[in-house]
Amino acid sequence: MKKQDMNLLESYQKISKIRANRDATGRIYVMIFVGTLLIASAYWLVLFIENSNLKQNIQTIQDYLNSPQIVERSNEADQLNEDVTKLDAILNELKSAQDVFALQPTFSSSAVNLIVAERPGTVRMNSISYSGDAITLDVSGTRVYSVSDYVMRLRRSNAFQEVQYSGYTLTDGIYNSSITIILKGGQ
């Protein structure tokens, strides 16, 4: 065996070394803790200062916003915004009305020209009247097919919503009839 002598000091130094290492480890943990605490404190301080600055800025802005001049301007702006909103609403209503008007059937010269152009020579136009979206033609035909031919031509033109014909009355060899033309919308 290598060990042949005694030295209690070695045992003491070993224990002291182990304890010193343990203490050093403990000190490292304490240093890490203290370091972390310091960093956290510094960070907290920075945040605290930033927060204070922000609060101060917010207060300044609030003071600015609460000043009578700004309040008055803000009220004006609110009023303007309200007016603009109302105008927008009116505009929208007008657009809707315009759209409605655009779709409403209208009695125009082109419709009259077509009615005249499609009339056969055997049909005489007695009168023409317009009410709402309907044009009523009071016609007379010299032949039995004259009025129906005229109705068929008008229908074939596809220019009208509907062409209503309900027959004729024969008086003195003249075939009298009434044709109602419903105008198309959006034209």
Binding site: K3, Q4, D5, N7, L8, L9
Partner: protein, 296 residues
């Protein structure tokens, strides 16, 4: 030169000597007594006072040594011979510590060291018989602190038993198969070390009554040696072949004669053996201190 300091319960022994493998040359010696209450099992009670006294005595000794080997020979140290399984040498300290704590009910505050004495077999298992010592960590700390305050650095902290074992080896006293006793006769204390087959067996401490009467003290010593001698017959029937006397009692020769007359056991002064073996003049008072200068 090396400085050795033996710390007894009430006395400090200082020896400045040059120790080589072949020779021991003592340059100077010094000793002083102090109050017994200054040292207890917790070490030095008043470190500052002890350091001051030690420093003053070192100046009186006129030594320039700043390092020393210390021999603890007081109540702060506990001895025990124990058997531990023969395991890897690195694990022995743990085993010894565990055995000592278990055997003596010691707390973890005790520091321990040991030296192997012999390999034995118990129940077919190889074992080491070791001499283990234990001392409170606070005690060592008090010694280290006191010596530091006295401007001395401790190189080694040894014990009186180990010192005696080394001295017996050094001067071939152990080189025998016979059973012998080393009687360290101190002021008010007797330490009997039993050796068999050249190997240390055990120590028996006896506190001598402080009657002041020389004859009654000698009678006490004879009685203690007689008890030890009787005890040896519980181990074997060899009996005690011889007794080696050391220590500082002025009446060592008278003790030796009384023991021889009463118990029929011859004795020799250790100083005579030292002179015979290596032609060295060594006072028996300084044997323990010189022993700690021998390092293996």
């Amino acid at each position: 030169m090396s400085l050795a300091i033996e710390i007894k319960s009430n006395e400090i022994i200082m020896v400045e000597a040059k120790v080589t493998k072949s020779n021991i040359q003592v340059r100077s010696t010094h000793s002083f007594e102090f109050n017994e209450n200054l040292i207890n099992q917790h070490g030095i009670v008043d470190v500052d006072n002890f350091a001051m006294v030690l420093s003053s005595q070192l100046n009186q000794m006129d030594t320039k040594e700043k390092k020393c080997n210390v021999c603890i020979n007081n109540s702060s140290i506990i001895y025990r011979e124990i058997l531990v399984p023969k395991v890897d040498e690195k694990r022995l300290p743990f085993l010894v510590r565990s055995e000592m704590m278990s055997a003596l009910h010691l707390t973890p505050e005790y520091l321990m060291d040991f030296i192997p004495l012999e390999e034995v077999e118990k129940d077919g298992n190889p074992m080491y018989r070791v001499l283990a010592v234990a001392i409170l960590e606070t005690a060592i700390e008090s010694y280290v602190t006191a010596f530091k305050k006295a401007n001395l650095k401790i190189n080694t902290l040894d014990t009186a038993s180990n010192s005696i074992i080394k001295m017996m080896d050094e001067f071939n006293v152990s080189n025998t198969t016979a059973q012998f006793i080393v009687a360290d006769v101190q002021k008010g204390q007797l330490k009997l070390y039993l050796f068999d087959e050249g190997i240390y067996v055990l120590t028996r401490n006896t506190r001598l009554s402080a009657s002041g009467d020389e004859q009654s003290e000698i009678d006490e010593i004879v009685e203690s040696i007689s008890k030890m001698s009787q005890y040896t017959f519980t181990r074997n029937s060899k009996g005690i072949h011889t007794i080696v006397y050391t220590g500082q009692n002025a009446n060592l020769l008278q003790v030796s004669e009384s023991v021889e007359q009463s118990l029929n056991i011859p004795g020799r002064l250790f100083s005579d053996i030292v002179k015979e073996v290596k032609s060295i003049e060594l006072d028996n008072k300084y044997v323990n201190a010189v022993g700690v200068l021998l390092r293996k």
